[in-house]
Amino acid sequence: MNFDLSETQRLFQSTTERFSSAVDVATRHSIRRLDGGYDKDRWRQLAELGLLSIGASAEFDGLDGSLTDLSVIAETLGLHNALDPWLENGAFPIRLGNLAGDKAFTSALLDGSQLVSVAFAEKATRYGLMPQSTTFTSDDNSGYLLNGNKHFVQTAALADTLLVTGTFKGEFSIHCVAANSDGIETQYYRLADGSQAGAITFNQVKLGSDSRLDISFEQFQDVVAELNVLCCAEMIGLSQLLLNNTINYVKERKQFGVAIGSFQTIQHGLVDCYSELEQMRSLLFKTLLSDENTGVQWHADTMGTKAFIGERADLIARTAVQFHGAMGITDEVDVGHAMKRIMLLSRLFGDSANHLKYYARNS
């Protein structure tokens, strides 16, 4: 029994830390003001450090990282309040490519020259993963026609390729779609974390016969299960950041002639946060050390874990804002940015209520 990180994991931790700790609030604002809400040069730098390759299998030129290895990166990104869409535009499509056994697709993502957004969310299904309003049909030349709509397509304006979920002859199907294809109409909008998303309408978009990724609905759920775990890891990093900053703040901030950290109500509030954070870490460990990586039980366990962690990360964020007083509600301190990222992550792939329900029924 051992909960310590390996040498390699510590190496990835320090690499991620060096990359992400350089962004202060002013830099964050300037990057978010760029077209598309992110900097593609940063994406290439992140790739050069191996932070994308780690998610791909060795036969696809990757580093064969485990889910635990990826969690170390996600948590470290969270701890530094990173604005890089590593989880949604990196780990997500790369793990899909891995499972599909698609070398050409996967290895092309690893140098950061291409950015892929996964278009999986629909208004019609709320947090459900089985698409209802997107269809693929056969066209005349053994290719496909794509029709329908998606929203919450993250970093859509910078994407070269969209991975779109839909149904083909009533069955789940997922296809690569060039982002500049004819028939795509996108409304760009800002999300909680300052990134840009797209609400996309697909109208008779022509796709080649080789556009389909060979992945079943169950496999798609397996990948989402992993991504749920990575959301947890990033939320734990963010929660640690919030707690650290708040502890430092209450030691310095004086009111009524003393540091507010000397008040018992502040101390007990922070102990509650600390206690929840330790429990969040523990449940993440349990999930990472599970023997399973597929099937309903695994999906339920990852969703239960995310329900637990999301709810608590939210509590820690609200406490951090509260204990920072009026400073906490400005756009100039880290806590608000961390809170907004937690709000996004705790809802990504399904909120706590959604996930708890699935866990309660299936675990």
Partner: protein, 402 residues
């Protein structure tokens, strides 16, 4: 990071299982299941104690040189988990988990020789003299006096909330030997025989109707100076060592997980107003799921502490954290336990014990009959061993450094 069971671990688990199968009788299981109190009575605990003693497993968590088993943290966890799954009672925790380890650490060779074999065999039954009527959370304000008179101490004062003092023949006490010193510095740790004219034990009945705790009065009672553990004034250090053992290095989660899975079984035989099974009611399911997640998280918090200890990183104030988490979780499990029985959960039989043949017949289920008393006794969990508020003060000061 790994959590793998080695071949030896699996062999060990099978050995524990086989042992429990063979030795844990139905009457012992029933004794625990039908006890609403925090502790089982000696007729149950000592019977099981004897079996474990004969097996050589009675003091598995102790230092090896004093009778410990030298199990790895994984083995200790496997053992606690199997014991919880099997529904075994806990043998005399005050003797085995509190005073035993104190004597291993601070006792003189003569004290060890005199007391440890009798603790291991169950011949001596100990109780704990910490709290006093005037000092609860502020333990260091205690005022029971011990004055040295030749080769003995003369004791005056009173201890309260003393669990099972009515069954015990020894009590370990924190006493004040120096009234001039700073309050922690004047405290000494003494072992006192209960069977003497200067000691009187009076019962305190809990709101559940159980008699578990007592007040103990000392009126010129005596104990030999040979029964002082450590030096005069060293009592507070020993007290803190003991409290850390009381609070953690613990294994609460396996038992809580068993209790939680039982809730689902009980709920299956109750219906909601619309005639559906309570077990499938969305609100019930959600409450149960939340408890289960909390218990799984606690399970790994405890395992992380075990792993730290095994890697030479002592638990220290982390035990305040597990005490906080586990006692609150235990209460919330008891709350759902009681809620699910609806009207049946309001029965509060005054007879004890409830595992004998002459116990009253339950209205509804057996689990429903003991539910409320267990719930009421469970309120103590966030008060004893240092209240929630005291634990939070400790974590704030020693971990968060506020």
């Amino acid at each position: 990071m790994d959590m793998n069971l080695s071949a030896e671990d699996i062999e060990f688990r099978d050995e524990v299982r086989a042992f429990l199968n063979e030795n844990l009788t139905d009457s012992l299981r029933t004794g625990l299941a039908r006890t609403p109190g925090v502790f089982v009575e000696p007729d149950i605990s000592l019977a099981w104690h004897k079996i474990l003693y004969e097996k050589g497993w009675i003091t598995h968590g102790w230092p090896v040189e004093d009778g410990g088993m030298g199990w790895t943290p994984m083995q200790a966890y496997i053992y606690e988990k199997e014991v919880a799954l099997a529904g075994a009672p806990k043998p005399a925790p005050i003797s085995l988990q509190l005073i035993g380890p104190v004597l291993c650490r601070y006792g003189t060779p003569a004290q060890k020789q005199r007391f440890i074999p009798r603790i291991r065999s169950g011949e001596d039954f100990w109780c704990q003299g910490y709290s006093e009527p005037g000092s609860g959370s502020d333990l260091a304000s205690l005022s029971m006096r011990a004055t040295q008179d030749g080769d003995k101490y003369v004791l005056n004062g009173s201890k309260i909330w003393t669990t099972h003092a009515q069954h015990a023949n020894w009590i370990f006490c924190l006493v004040r030997t120096d009234t001039a010193a700073k309050k922690q510095a004047g405290i000494t740790f003494l072992l006192v025989p209960l069977d003497q004219p200067g000691v009187k034990v009076t019962p305190i009945v809990s709101m559940s109707g159980d008699h578990e705790v007592n007040q103990v009065f000392f009126d010129n009672a005596e104990t030999s100076v040979n029964n002082r553990v450590g030096e005069e004034g060293q009592g507070w250090e020993i007290a803190k060592f003991l409290l850390q053992n009381e609070r953690g290095g613990s294994c609460f989660a396996p038992k809580l997980l068993v209790n939680i899975s039982n809730l689902k079984k009980y709920a299956a035989s109750y219906t909601t107003a619309d005639g559906n099974s309570l077990a499938n009611d969305p609100d019930f399911e959600a409450r149960l799921a939340k408890l289960k997640l909390r218990a799984h998280a606690l399970e790994f918090t405890e395992l992380r502490i075990q792993a730290d200890i095994a890697n030479g990183r002592p638990a220290g104030p982390q035990t305040s954290l597990t005490k906080l988490i586990s006692s609150n979780l235990a209460q919330d499990v008891q709350t759902l336990h009681n809620d699910l029985f609806a009207y049946e959960g309001l029965q509060l039989p005054s007879e004890r014990p409830l595992y004998h043949d002459d116990a009253p017949t339950p209205v509804g289920s057996e689990a429903g009959q003991t539910s409320l008393a267990a719930y009421l006794n469970g309120r103590a969990a966030t008060i004893y061993g240092g209240s929630d508020q005291v634990q939070k003060n400790i974590v704030a000061k020693r971990i968060l450094q506020l």
